[in-house]
Symmetry: D2
Subunit: 377 residues, 4 copies
Amino acid sequence: MVGGGEGSFIGPIHYRAAMLDGFYQFVCGAFSSSYEKSLQSTDFYHVGKSRIYPTWEEMFRAEAELPVTERMEAVIIATPNHLHFPQAMMALDRGFHVICDKPATISLAQGLELEKKVQETGLVYALTHTYTGYPMVKEAAEIVKSGILGRIRRVIVEYPQGWLSSSLESTGNKQAAWRTNPEMSGPGGCLGDIGTHAANLAEYVTGLQISEMCADLTSFVPGRKLDDDMVVLCKMKGGAKGLFFASQVLTAEENELKIRVYGEKGGVEWCHAQPNSLLLKMDNQPAATLKAGANHNYLSEKTRWNCRTPGGHPEGYIEAFANIYKNAAYHMLSLKDGRFKMPDFIEYPTIQDGVSGMKFIERVLASAATDNKWIVY
Amino acid sequence: MVGGGEGSFIGPIHYRAAMLDGFYQFVCGAFSSSYEKSLQSTDFYHVGKSRIYPTWEEMFRAEAELPVTERMEAVIIATPNHLHFPQAMMALDRGFHVICDKPATISLAQGLELEKKVQETGLVYALTHTYTGYPMVKEAAEIVKSGILGRIRRVIVEYPQGWLSSSLESTGNKQAAWRTNPEMSGPGGCLGDIGTHAANLAEYVTGLQISEMCADLTSFVPGRKLDDDMVVLCKMKGGAKGLFFASQVLTAEENELKIRVYGEKGGVEWCHAQPNSLLLKMDNQPAATLKAGANHNYLSEKTRWNCRTPGGHPEGYIEAFANIYKNAAYHMLSLKDGRFKMPDFIEYPTIQDGVSGMKFIERVLASAATDNKWIVY
Amino acid sequence: MVGGGEGSFIGPIHYRAAMLDGFYQFVCGAFSSSYEKSLQSTDFYHVGKSRIYPTWEEMFRAEAELPVTERMEAVIIATPNHLHFPQAMMALDRGFHVICDKPATISLAQGLELEKKVQETGLVYALTHTYTGYPMVKEAAEIVKSGILGRIRRVIVEYPQGWLSSSLESTGNKQAAWRTNPEMSGPGGCLGDIGTHAANLAEYVTGLQISEMCADLTSFVPGRKLDDDMVVLCKMKGGAKGLFFASQVLTAEENELKIRVYGEKGGVEWCHAQPNSLLLKMDNQPAATLKAGANHNYLSEKTRWNCRTPGGHPEGYIEAFANIYKNAAYHMLSLKDGRFKMPDFIEYPTIQDGVSGMKFIERVLASAATDNKWIVY
Amino acid sequence: MVGGGEGSFIGPIHYRAAMLDGFYQFVCGAFSSSYEKSLQSTDFYHVGKSRIYPTWEEMFRAEAELPVTERMEAVIIATPNHLHFPQAMMALDRGFHVICDKPATISLAQGLELEKKVQETGLVYALTHTYTGYPMVKEAAEIVKSGILGRIRRVIVEYPQGWLSSSLESTGNKQAAWRTNPEMSGPGGCLGDIGTHAANLAEYVTGLQISEMCADLTSFVPGRKLDDDMVVLCKMKGGAKGLFFASQVLTAEENELKIRVYGEKGGVEWCHAQPNSLLLKMDNQPAATLKAGANHNYLSEKTRWNCRTPGGHPEGYIEAFANIYKNAAYHMLSLKDGRFKMPDFIEYPTIQDGVSGMKFIERVLASAATDNKWIVY
């Protein structure tokens, strides 16, 4: 693992997600840019000090030289955004599978280069777009795909947060500091941090592609260098329209990501605040509340595969994260052992999601910068 | 009353709202453009046949000639949109107070003319923008006004409906027919029918005025002459931004109007599906659920005035509607009897709301028709 | 109307419920035991002073002597509990229909006597057990009756209130004073005030009768003369079991009456806090949320009859109350005009509900007073 | 680990809970009474075949003879109920800490014997009463302890399930079979399986002890040997009263355990369906919704300690389970390393909870078998 040291929010999440289903073991790390600090995380990650490296470059180099049975097989990238690209590139070059925090890169050009690299190496590249790991998000996608909603007309995704409603970055908060710094975070603020989650969720659930876009970015907090609020209208191929709204200044909101998709005959609604439920609303019928549960036969096979417990046992954020780890592990397994064929219902976010995210950021920035209402996507 | 005959949705609502608190009595009517059909409504409205008139013009004329103690004092206008203006003008000219369905008129020019007329006559003109009649909407406005949320940054109003998701107008449905016909409904479809509710609610709760606007209108249903879906982004004076979204093609949605307002220190959230609650979210505190109730001392005086029952007794749509009737009645009373002074907490939507609505429609249409992202409001 | 004067909670509710659908007009009253106070209510009820009577006895006598076309047709009884019986008896004797607040009487013996009187006179006697007036409660009963839930096993009704969690009766609160005074309220406190609502709701929805009972009554507040908390277990004919729980000392609760009924194949759940919804849970299926709405074809005819608006327009407590008034009015009409036959879907709570309530109170008191676990009902 | 083999629901939960925070490693197992079947679980639990034992007795014996640095330190007991006692006794005797599924034993006598053994050995004995591992359940207990609710009056716990609403045990379902078999499950059916959860939760949150009890047990499903439905009324020391209700025949319900506690000044409410929220209702104030989150300063230190993520990241059943593992691990650590002192906010369910549970089962059975309403507890 690279990154994830002391004070990291996402590092321990990766650890837990990786350990939850028993497919992974942590064997080495460069948890921090400081070797000293890195060593402080050995206990948490259960990694022996001998395999803590002063830099990630050195880690990749040294591990690649270990015998196959000893060296790490996959690297987890949990560093600030600007490092994702070089780290993923080098890891793939050295033959390691990659599990990377989003965003994949900080530019579309990088994204495309990385995509090429993934294709060339044939290795696994998993991007932890957590929300598509929730079973009921997968169910939503399966429902759309089944066609029962009819042709899709409207996609509405909102992602309200409030933790940046004051200038937290000027109080020494590390999480706030790098996210509002274009050099570490890339050119999108709220856009890059959570706006891309909204777009990714919309694409995942509907399978639709954006054709034109009208974006508005705002920095509400004085002195902030990046946007902290994003609204995007878009036209999708096939005639649907999208409305994506994300903000980090909606004081007191936490993480209530929500998606609603409406077709000619019905709609679905999923909200992160109640992640184990999915509302299905068909015309002239009572709304149905579908619930997660490995034993619920009314759910798709894919959805049940991504539940660990029978209905009535709430699963949450770590479990969704772990679904990405689990499904990527099966992919790694299928590459290792040709006899294991990945069934269709095993999937996880890949570099394509990363490239889409980069394109989304670039086009939103382009739209926000122009006076024309619509730009081609 | 004019309009509201057989098959009308809103007519019986006006009746119930008017009767609920005992301030009104129905004395005459021209319930339909057909005298025959008009007569069929006498039982429902408890109006004697002798005071059913073949046309509204005749009604206004004849009633104005009756002795003061016998003639009607106020007229309720519940006809299709294009008649609201001429009827209100004539009613005011003849000395009658007016309670009118929204929209007030079908153009801004008419709106301004009517505003002038109301001012000249000094009569009561109440516009039944129902949603601002809900006690907890009033509480939301009072909370914003109190300043505890800090400076307002974001206003989000959504109004999802689905009843026009197919071409209902081509099946003989009367409600759908006039609403999708520009000659009866005016130039806004969804925009005029419910988009204006969204805008009115935003203005009412925040007290903020729009300065710039970017609108997108869509007709999703083939063959429909008016928009059935509206998204509006706007900049407000003082730096806030608004997002107003209304649609009538969100299959299976009914009437879940929802407003969220966020300031620097906290936010409020109200949803029509649970009209007796209001969420107050202050930074770093648990969210508080305020509940309607005449006995709830934590509510403002205005809010309590608009509750008929103690907490725990759900009030709904008719009661909200009736609050407009009740408050307008007190205004009529104060005009009649100089000794009764209207306290501050008695208010209802007036012609100013009507003019604002007309301006909103005109500017949204203008914005939707241009390729420029922002237009001045 | 008798009772309902200044300070009454329920008087104005009766007024509004009666006026809502236009079937009633208030013509006379004895609103208070004090003639002076009675006169103060003439404005509210729109009754001329000439027909305000010093006592209810005088009112019944005088009105009965008026010509048929002038005299009142039905009397509303909204006095403290101990007066319900003598007033209803005299009203029926004089030929007036009766609409009475619950409880019907303060003893079972009285209840049975009154039942006999109602049968003898053939007049309408409606008891305002409000909660069975809610459309979605009626839908619950229709669903049980349809058999789709299979044989019923469990009925759970809870009625949590908190307004009596301190000794409100010793602070001069009139509502609290008479309700905690056995002479005005009868021998049941919480039991009589809201416990009977719970039992009535259970009987209404399931159609089942109690066969054995085990009750526990508590007075939590020191000095209180009557119970303020009730738990009742019961066995029902046919093998189902009931759990009825009501309390007035659950601090900060308001009125969240809730019923759940489970059969072999599924269950239904209704809660007063969201009265326009009904949950239907069938085995191995997603829960369905049925919503009130005159236009919802998936609801029973009876349910739709008791809705005034299409789906998405919240109706509440007053509307439920008004359904009793409306349905009783149709019954009065059918008695007046033999040609009008009451369809099956028109019903309202009658003296049978009143007798059941009295029996419930007597048996709960008997059970609470014995050391035997079960008593025969 | 003993038990938890192929087909077990709870085995994999133990695994995930143990792994989540990195305090445990699985080193040996006797996952099934069949050695063959046991071997099939080695992959899942990541245990080498060399340390799979044919019987648990052999495992305890063999492991105890391994060098301290190699042998297992704690044993997880996830077998059917009747084995919990002998396994825990032997494990403690051999010097292993114990983490045991509830119930601790199948009789009170066993429970007391085991309690003595735990005290004698000074080893850690953790009982996985999962629900008290939820952070917001801990917050509820902290709030009660703080005194802000005043003296407690009413405790209401309900645990509705529906999975046994038909005779699942006669269809070959293993989970249903042992739970309805008194020889494997002990004398309580629903009572032992989930009734004890209800009682444990009540005791944990309120700290109150039962003094008298009135219980009713039912077997609704024909042919079932144990109860499938339980209602318990109880008097608590200090004057409060409890109502505990659990059932496994409420068709279509899953696991909606809910507790409500009311004192003189306010109440708290927690429901397993929304485990990251806690409602706090104080008299004359809006209800507050407290949310789990390691960063929520309004929560107690204990609550925050048991959250892994900041607010807005749902945690669920596995995380609650893991809190027991985590806190027990800290206790084991403090025993190993005298310098580490357990802070007050680290706690987990112990053998005392196990003994209480056994007593609860015995007294409920005694009460259910007598015709007297109340029995001394």
